[in-house]
Symmetry: C2
Subunit: 363 residues, 2 copies
């Protein structure tokens, strides 16, 4: 698989659509996360589901992270293959085939996994590997997880009684809070979640169960979890890139506003009429599940709709045929999953190309 | 890249999420297209943007198609590489890099391309290849294309005066009509489009310009184009698979209702509460741009929402932890683009695995 750009190439010469990382903004985002955690007793375990790329994971670890999270065993395999030694699958893993792969992986790296069901705990134990097992709490996301409090304690006991597993703590993530627009509302949601976490930790203590780690939080809330004191590890993912949907959030202290570092480079492929320009990046080039992309540094232009291979731009001073435009994806994670390579650019020149080795890693 | 299933494996043993082709339904869809065109003076050039797979293109050609369409040069490259000798890029191609690749490709296969701009025609001619060039008409889709009538004739003249290009005819596709729910409304839209096509053909004739082919139409309308008599070639793509969004259309004569042949196999990975089951196929496994997937053969179950790696099911008789379910994707084309392999199944057993070689072919 050949890289779609070469080092030293100018950005305007890169063929399109292409996934671009602006290195200055990307590095600033890595630094910003570190600065906000300075003096806090909380470690960072960034989410690799966003970037799917060991090159980025290595840079996150160099910036202070203890390791990364993944959502899928195949993502964890790509990370370990790429040299990452500490991976938490922040998700339930069900089925003998996947668990055999997870057990195999745990011979090469420190591997954690989440549980919300005793039958699943027994299945994991049967795979025979020393895994770090986290009990996932349902904090209002209405997805996976057990209820905080007694139900979590009961499941922790099942883990502790299942050799060779190790009870590593609690997975406590509130995904729905991340895109609640106002900081005050996000704070209220995380305060309630923190109360649930504290109650569960106290109940674990009363049952003489050590809870080494409480892990969770995302880019939209993580400083609220940090300030609550209830979490010991955070899992932000999108912070490295930001996207158009996150940009619609309100950002205020203690939450830093990260910079857009991920773009889709597109070409104007048609100027059929005076009211619109058509670009070559549609919904196979920029996932639209969280809204359309925005046009970077062209405030008068609006990307109004996407079809599979086309995007329609309207607005003032429409670009000419053949002009190249940077788009900010609506949602970074599924957009990254459409590409095999990051083209990393600084000051308008390609500095590196990084393979997205966990692209399409679904299993 | 290893195939995610092996021939002879039982469907229930295939790890998930996985993209499944039900071969009986798929073959029936191929046959149905052929039957509906019997005795009509219209040839089929199915759209490979849907399936991105030369193995499927070959079967379409074996069933009577003259070749395939693509939307991107890189898709056309994958088709020619896979042995397909006649490919129309039913789209504008802008930029010297892409046009050089298209010219290169035309030395190995019959290649067509669409235009809607005289500057672009000159750029294509400068690439120096004998390409079939189609003038794209804007029929109400409000995307690319020139206005029917005089504007189209003027652009055809530019093509005819641009050596070594060959004016091959008109690209006349109305994408927005495909998912208009009622057949009567779709018919009204296509009748208006047919009048625009006829008017343009007559004007070409008055200008002594031969128009060998009028090509266009999709799975939601193609028999309306055929019955109008204004088209000589049709480009249906989704008919091989069908999807949940197409299933919401009204289907009545002359349009056949194709069968669901494409599925995402998923596993129930969490049963956190009595009101929901969580499957391991979210929006990275089934594109949600045209709505959520539906649950196959389980009328009481509703896939209510997707996050990146999770799907939430609600309804009666919720499946048990570890149970596998087939989902019908909301939109087949971008869902296919998330996978590297089709796992082809007949009577519950894997019969073949086909690589999706144009997956991610954006350029």
């Amino acid at each position: 698989m050949r890289a779609p750009a070469s080092i030293g190439q100018r950005l305007e010469d890169v063929d399109t659509p292409a996934l671009i990382v602006e290195l200055d903004a990307f590095e600033k985002n890595l630094a910003t996360l570190g600065e906000t955690l300075k003096g806090r007793n909380v470690r960072a375990r960034p989410h690799a589901k966003t970037h799917k790329c060991p090159e980025i994971a290595k840079r996150q670890i160099a910036a202070g992270a203890v390791g990364v999270c993944c959502q899928k065993v195949s993502e964890a395999e790509a990370m370990v293959e790429g040299g990452i030694g500490d991976v938490l699958v922040s998700n339930e893993v069900v089925g003998a085939q996947k668990l055999a792969r997870l057990a195999e992986l745990s011979r090469r790296a420190r591997i954690g996994v989440c549980v919300d069901n005793p039958e699943n705990v027994r299945q994991i134990a049967a795979a025979g590997a020393k895994l770090d097992v986290y009990v996932e709490l349902e904090l209002g996301m209405r997805r996976c997880g057990v209820e905080p409090g007694q139900a979590a304690v009961e499941l922790a006991k099942v883990v502790m009684n299942s050799r060779p597993l190790r009870f590593a703590g609690l997975q406590a993530y509130h995904g729905r809070a991340q895109h609640v627009r106002s900081v005050a509302e996000r704070r209220a949601i995380i305060e309630k979640a923190a109360a649930d976490v504290r109650r569960t930790r106290e109940l674990l203590r009363e049952n003489a169960i050590d809870c080494p780690i409480v892990t969770g939080a995302g880019s939209g809330t993580y400083m609220l979890e940090v300030e609550s004191g209830a979490w010991s590890e955070i899992q932000p993912g999108s912070y490295v890139f930001m996207d158009a949907d996150y940009a619609r959030n309100e950002w205020a202290a203690p939450l830093p506003r990260f910079e857009h570092a991920l773009f889709v480079l597109s070409t104007v492929m048609s100027r059929p009429a005076s009211d619109r320009a058509i670009v070559d990046a549609g919904l196979k080039a920029s996932s639209v599940d969280s809204g359309m992309p925005t046009v970077w540094a062209k405030p008068g232009l609006i990307y109004v709709r996407a079809s599979d291979e086309h995007g329609v731009l309207e607005g003032k001073e429409l670009p000419r045929l053949g002009e190249k435009l940077l788009l900010v994806p609506g949602h970074c994670d599924p957009t990254v999953n459409l590409y095999d390579w990051y083209i990393c650019v600084r000051a308008g020149v390609v500095e590196a190309v990084w393979p997205i080795t966990a692209r399409g890693a679904l299993r």
